[in-house]
Symmetry: C2
């Protein structure tokens, strides 16, 4: 397995309209660096993977289950397995998501 | 489980001399936001947890197994389970590490 990675040489994939991510996969985790323009919506969905999201830049409206918060730099959300969530970029945003286990659908 | 977290209200722990981290634990992952001053060394060690490290600020000399690289913003390292690694802060650094499974020793 490749140990050292550079994000700028990792190809970017549009995983949903307006959400562009660079993904790096380990054995047990996938880490994804996303960007989206203001107004981009990631509709309500769920997956068996646990997810931890960290906002790196901008304002992200995040709904997890029935709770909605506006998240900014320094905010971290832990989304349990199979819990429905959605996101809306209130500004241009950069968000780092980690998933366990690996997101095979992101390969 | 608490879903929304703010790093600034998460207590900081010194996990080794000069390495200060704020840790958030999920079910299957721990995410740690570390800072260290220039010159701080994290000696060679290993653990069963897979680790993915992302440099957020500064220059980090990272040795994984027998390979050494200087990592900066945009560099990501995937450290497999039980592989020895060490780190040296060449400048003041901020690094984000994720571990799977949870680092029970960081609770």
């Amino acid at each position: 397995m490749n140990v050292f990675h550079q994000l700028e040489s990792t190809p970017e994939k549009e995983i949903f309209g307006g959400w562009f991510g660079r993904m790096i996969h380990g054995e047990n985790m996938t880490i994804s660096y996303f960007r989206a323009k203001a107004g981009s919506i990631l509709p309500r969905h769920s997956h068996p993977h646990e997810q931890i999201s960290t906002v790196l830049e901008g304002e992200l409206e995040l709904t997890i289950g029935e709770e909605t918060r506006i998240c900014r730099l320094g905010d971290v959300a832990v989304i349990p397995s199979n819990v429905e969530h959605q996101a809306r970029a209130l500004t241009d945003v950069r968000v780092m998501d980690v998933f366990a286990p690996v997101r095979e659908d992101y390969r």
